[in-house]
């Protein structure tokens, strides 16, 4: 049996192009423009899938992008919406949430057990006795979820882009098109977005046969599609409304992010079902779904219909059905058709039997509806089941009311109230930059909708220019469009409120009786509206039921919160193109040439070590030995490099750092320790003073941005006359270190390196190889050393030249690991490794770095309090040279009498001392150098180490001041 009709005036299918798809092995033929569901219907198949909880067979229902019981999957994707996703040639699909296919689903008889699967059954049972809990959990988990994920899926990322417009119009129905047209004609740049494949909205399916709008339709479409100031996006959904009209639009090609100056919400409505026994049997559908089938896909929804209506739209749908050749056996009007106007009369005139003040009580049919039973409504709005009229039919169309698509109006905090005249929620007032038009705004008459849209478009365009337009907008309709309670109980239930979650009327009412009589609570307990359609066809009826049950008004009952996403949005689209910044220094080529093994340090790639020896350890030790005995060079370009200028620069530096910086001599450096307001160490580096009002300040690699942010914020907050500039990317740095440093460097620079002219901790500017440089004598690795700071463009050349010119001294580039070892031997801390979220300078063994005599610095007050509270201290420890047990690791604990007594923060095997040595916090202020501590290793073994004084290496600091073994004399 084919359902395909003759050509329809606005159909979306191209009959000249056929497509072939396969659903569960069955080949089907459709036309280009057909959706999966319409193709199936054209091939006589109405069974679209299985429901979530009871696995009931379901057919097409809304054709409006929330047919959650028509979800399909294939090898590439799941949750494919049959009602709207195109039938692409060659597509092979199967139903989601079935075992063994839609027809023969293993759980197809689960419905018989529905009596036992009461609302919240998984809270009430399935946990006793306790030993069965894992078994029950497995059952619950097996039945959870809809589609199946293929863990081998890859991809799905689509680039995002920014969109720009003055006026963003959501919804391209009559009101939206009119809004876009009017706004564009007022000079605004307009973006028009619609989730459907084509613009037109209800004009093309509800009003397809209304001759009075024929001219308006072509005029609007023409204007919208040909106006160069209107950018149209179809098959595109606004993901949600975010602060300041930040509106991402999900298109088939990825997300467009729009900061809309003005927004017109012309989002329309979702038709709502009537609740009666077996209102889910295939063939029962929304009247608007039937109209979409006919108008868009030329699909005849059924042969013989029964209808339940409560508005004029129902009769409009009836006329469309009649025109499509459908026989209507009965229309149950919940009120009086005489009040519906001309359309109802036309329907009656065609001989259709109309039952006033009737509702549908139940339908029959297993695989498809076979009959509908109508009962009269009594004065209290309930059905009188003693008087039944049963009519045969293979389709039941419901047109009893609507729920406006107010989601994004709720999100932007519009004042939304229930309008009892119309029977729907409506925004009473809107925030600035937001307009609503058309039926979402309560305006139903088609000509009014268009006028309302045009008015909103004009107002939005004016507002975008900072003006206001004096526009008379149509009043909302005064005719009820949505019935107050199209909801009927039935002793056999199966009267579904929510089709995503298989919630029956009694489930919901029982939930209320059990104490969940609050709209948010009942949602969570009954799961109404928690499925993929997020209540689009169930929230409104849910509110009505709860309001009636509690005797409260709709407004008192309220609605659940409408959060993004408006429609489920692909993760790949949200994440967008993968972009990971990776920073390398200008010396990268040299590092690679020298066989560097890289490690990631935030966004930076840094040489961890150079793979020159047989093993990693040997390579690192060779680098250490080079620095200790000859010459090494490390690329420290990743350090943060910030300059601070201005008359108040000394004051700024004093307040930022724990040490006094304002008394530093020009041309000197000082260790910079930074703590937060709680006195916790956050950063360290070196400060150079270039001039009275000019400092240069290095931070740790990870702190460059936060340190700069803090500086900027504090300078503003303090109102000081100073400026900070982050030069991290502009300047590069390398540290040339080792006893031969001065000897080899001296001939390469015009700076006088003699001890008198350039003492330890001094900084000098000059040139090397003709390039401007700053040299700073610092001692992080514990040898004579010069940090060379230069412009980025010169760095690689200086580095390469140094390696060449110092080759005779055996210079080796060294990496981060060797530097960590060298500084450890010297007892220097690494912030964040040897400090934690609470470490203050006293605990870290750096009381000398805190100048309490300053009036103020960040953290001073806290440090005053913390000083006497010190309960742990960072100490050095060594393993015996003879030790041969398991490897001690960072964060192994110190144990004393079975209790925690501290933690190792740094530990390494030192090639200089031929043993393990490291730093550890000892939770004992009485601990002394020479004491033994116990370290617990991975395997639980306790091994003994000895606390030793720091630094391990060169305690007198002679090597940094270069008073070393005669190498000094060789320097001129």
């Amino acid at each position: 049996m084919s359902y395909r009709l003759q050509e329809q005036p606005f159909e979306w299918i191209d009959r000249s192009k056929t497509v072939n798809i396969e659903v569960e092995g069955r080949p089907m033929r459709g036309f280009e423009g057909d959706t999966i569901s319409s193709t199936m219907l054209a091939n006589g198949v109405i069974h679209m899938g299985r429901s979530f909880k009871y696995h009931r067979i379901r057919g097409p229902f809304t054709f409006a992008n929330h047919d959650i019981n028509a979800l399909f999957e294939n090898a590439d994707k799941t949750h494919v919406r049959g009602d709207v996703e195109l039938a692409e040639d060659g597509l092979k699909l199967k139903g989601a949430n079935t075992i063994g296919g839609i027809a023969k689903d293993k759980f197809r008889h689960l419905s018989l057990l529905s009596r036992f699967l009461v609302v919240g059954f998984y809270y009430k049972g399935l946990f006793k006795p306790r030993f069965l809990r894992p078994f029950y959990e497995r059952i619950i988990r097996e039945s959870a979820g809809l589609g199946k994920v293929d863990l081998n899926w890859r991809g799905g990322r689509k680039s995002k882009r920014y969109g720009f417009c003055d006026v963003l119009v959501i919804g391209a129905g009559p009101a939206g098109m009119a809004a876009a047209k009017a706004a564009a004609e007022s000079g605004a740049q307009v973006m028009l977005v619609d989730e459907n494949a084509q613009i037109g909205g209800s004009l093309d399916y509800q009003y397809a046969n209304d001759a009075s709008v024929a001219d308006t339709r072509s005029e609007l479409k023409e204007a919208v599609l040909n106006n160069e100031n209107i950018e149209v996006h179809t098959s595109s959904v606004a993901v949600g409304w975010y602060t300041d009209n930040w509106m991402p639009i999900n298109t088939p090609n990825g997300i467009i992010k729009v900061r809309a100056e003005q927004v017109v919400m012309a989002t329309g409505l979702f038709e709502q079902p009537s609740i009666f026994h077996k209102n889910d049997v295939p063939g029962v559908m929304m009247a608007s779904a039937a109209q979409r089938m006919i108008a868009r896909y030329a699909i005849k929804p059924c042969e013989v219909a029964a209808m339940v209506v409560a508005n004029e739209d129902g009769y409009r749908a009836a006329l469309d059905l009649l025109k499509a050749g459908v026989k209507i056996n009965a229309i149950a009007d919940l009120e009086d058709h005489e009040d519906r106007g001309d359309l109802a009369k036309q329907v009656k005139a065609q001989g259709v039997q109309i039952y006033d003040h009737h509702g549908i009580y139940e339908v029959e049919g297993k695989d498809r509806v076979t009959s509908a039973t109508l009962c009269p409504l009594n004065a209290s709005g309930e059905l009188d089941t003693s008087r039944k009229t049963t009519v045969p039919c293979d389709g039941v169309m419901m047109s009893v009311g609507w729920a406006p698509a107010t989601h994004m109006l709720f999100q932007c905090k519009a004042d939304i109230k229930y309008d009892a005249t119309i029977g729907q929620f409506r925004a009473q007032s809107l925030p600035e930059g937001m307009f609503a038009a058309g039926r979402v705004n309560g305006v139903f008459d088609i000509k009014d909708q268009i006028a309302d849209g045009a008015g909103a478009g004009q107002q939005a365009a004016a507002a975008a220019k900072g003006e206001s337009a004096d526009v008379q907008r149509p009043e909302p309709t005064k005719v009820r469009q949505s019935h107050e309670y199209p909801i009927f109980s039935h002793p056999k239930a199966k009267n579904f409120l929510d089709y995503d979650e298989d919630i029956q009327l009694k489930d919901y009412i029982n939930a209320a009786k059990e104490g969940f009589d609050n709209i948010e609570l009942i949602k969570r307990f009954s799961t109404n509206g928690m499925g993929p359609s997020q209540g689009k066809h169930s929230n409104m009826n849910g509110i009505r039921i709860l309001a009636k049950h509690t005797g409260k008004s709709i407004d008192e009952t309220g609605s659940t919160t409408a959060r993004p996403m408006f429609h489920p949005t692909p993760v790949g689209h949200l994440g967008g193109r993968r972009f990971r910044a990776e920073r390398v220094t200008p010396m990268q080529e040299s590092h690679v040439a020298h066989k560097a093994v890289f490690m990631e340090a935030g966004a930076w790639l840094r040489p961890e070590y150079y793979d020159t020896e047989a093993t990693r350890t040997e390579s690192i030790h060779a680098e250490v030995n080079a620095v200790r005995t000859g010459l090494g060079i490390i690329d420290v370009s990743t350090l943060g490099k910030i300059e601070v200028f201005g008359p108040d620069a000394p004051e700024v530096m004093d307040r930022i750092c724990t040490m006094r910086m304002s008394n530093m001599k020009i041309g000197m450096t000082r260790y910079a320790l930074v703590v937060d307001e709680a006195g916790v160490i956050t950063d360290d580096g070196v400060v150079v003073r270039y001039a009275d009002d000019h400092f240069y300040y290095t931070t740790t690699t990870g702190s460059s941005d936060p340190a700069f942010r803090t500086l900027q914020k504090q300078i503003l907050e303090w109102g000081l006359k100073a400026e900070a500039v982050n030069r991290t990317g502009q300047l590069q740095a390398m540290n040339l270190a080792g006893p031969l440093a001065r000897q080899k460097l001296a001939p390469l620079t015009d700076i006088d390196l003699s001890e008198e002219a350039f003492p330890y901790l001094a900084a000098r500017t000059g040139t090397m190889y003709g390039k401007p440089v700053t040299l700073a004598r610092v001692g992080f690795v514990g040898e004579l050393g010069y940090e060379i700071h230069c412009l980025s463009g010169d760095a690689a050349e200086i580095w390469d030249n140094l390696l060449r010119d110092c080759a005779d001294a055996g210079i080796r580039p060294f990496g981060v690991e060797a530097q960590r070892l060298l500084r450890l031997e010297k007892g220097h801390v690494i912030v964040t490794q040897d400090t934690d979220g609470l470490t203050n300078p006293y605990e870290a063994g750096m009381p000398w770095a805190v100048h309490m005599k300053k009036d103020f610095f960040i953290g001073k007050r806290s440090l005053e309090i913390l000083k006497p509270l010190q309960a742990r201290k960072l100490m050095g420890f060594m393993f015996p040279e003879s030790y041969s047990g398991g490897t001690p690791k960072e964060c192994h604990l110190l144990i004393k009498d079975g209790e925690l007594n501290g933690r190792i923060t740094s530990v390494s095997y030192s090639p200089t001392f031929n043993r393990y040595l490291g730093l550890a916090y000892v939770d004992d202020m009485n601990a002394n150098v020479g004491d033994a501590v116990n370290v617990r290793l991975d395997d639980g073994a306790l091994v003994e180490a000895e606390l030793v004084s720091l630094p391990f290496y060169d305690p007198e600091g002679k090597r940094q001041t270069c008073d070393v073994d005669g190498t000094e004399e060789k320097v001129a």
């Binding site: 009430k124 081998n152 104490g515 967008g576």
Partner: protein
Amino acid sequence: MPYRLLKYAFKNPEELGDPRYFDQPEKLKSSYDVVIIGGGGHGLACAYYLARDFGITNVAVLEQGYVGGGNTGRNTTIVRSNYLTPEGVKFYDESLKLYLDLSDDLDINLMYSTRGHFTLAHSDSAMRTSRWRAETNKHLGIDSEVVDRQFIKNEVPYLDLDCGGTHPIMGALYHGPGAVARHDAVAWGYGRAANVRGVEIHQKTQVTGIKTNDDGTKVVGVETNRGFVQAGKVISMVAGSSPRITSMVGLKTPIEIFPLQACVTEPVKPFMDTIIVSGSLHCYVSQSSRGEMVMGASADPQELHSTRSSFDFVEGLTDQMMDLLPFTGGLRLMRQWAGMCDMTPDFAPIMGKTPIDNFYLDGGWGTWGFKATPVSGKTMAYTVANDKVHDLIKPFGLDRFDTYKLVGEKGAASVGH
């Protein structure tokens, strides 16, 4: 078919005589022995233990919205005890143990499910923190260990250990007892159990002021949108609204409010049995009993007293998630939401007595309130009933911010904050 479900099959709830979850008393009484501000998990748990363990039943729980509507219903339902400090570990481990028996205690299936909890490490420093936590945990008897890539690969084969090529996973902290539970049910179960013991639960009842004696040293009652009630003792258990309550009595705390956001995908057939956290990538994920993938990220970078959602949150989260779990690109995100986290400087809660007599505080929960629900209810009930701070929560007193005896849980945060 379990017997327990049979009885529901043929009768309506009222015929069964089951207690309603929460009665809706028409009026507030003029006076209560204890007023608990906040009808979330903590408030209801505290009410339950006050009634059960101490026979204190003249108690009102005042909730401005609906039961469990704050962070109880907004968190990502993870329960674990692999904290960093001994104080934290002992406290959360007690909570985890209480959770294990809670379905039976409250006669409601909390769907408590032990899943195993991975905290992935993508850097040396993350590996160090993992080891620190593992060593401390093991010392205190908690099942927690540092595992290598091979272990992770065996347990979670669908994880991309190379993370798309940047910041590959080096290892992880694995915590076997890590679990998930149905968060709403925790509040409902406690609410019903407190209710049947005589506690009154008043929803849509907002506290608008707190009355003290003349010199402000002692609390005597609370003003609400439904009138004044006298209170022998008042407990603030309002998480993200803590500053609003404490300011009513002029009490200063270092709490700052940051939004924390989360989201879920459409429900898909369960495939994921573990809980995965990546601090470096700022994301965590588990799969709910409904089949949704529940995902979260770091708290928002700025203070804000709002539950608005932001788009950059889902952009950042999904981007990172596809690095960890490359197949998620084909899923659809269904819903996002936010809660308000009451963060403290040391990332540990503030619990116990305050300088104001009869006023007790349970706040500063940041992102860990859900896992602490049972133990915080129990220890706060003890503290209030005896006017003596329970041993387990002594380290969490408000005065530690004056005395600088901070707890230092920052390193145990799932993701950066």
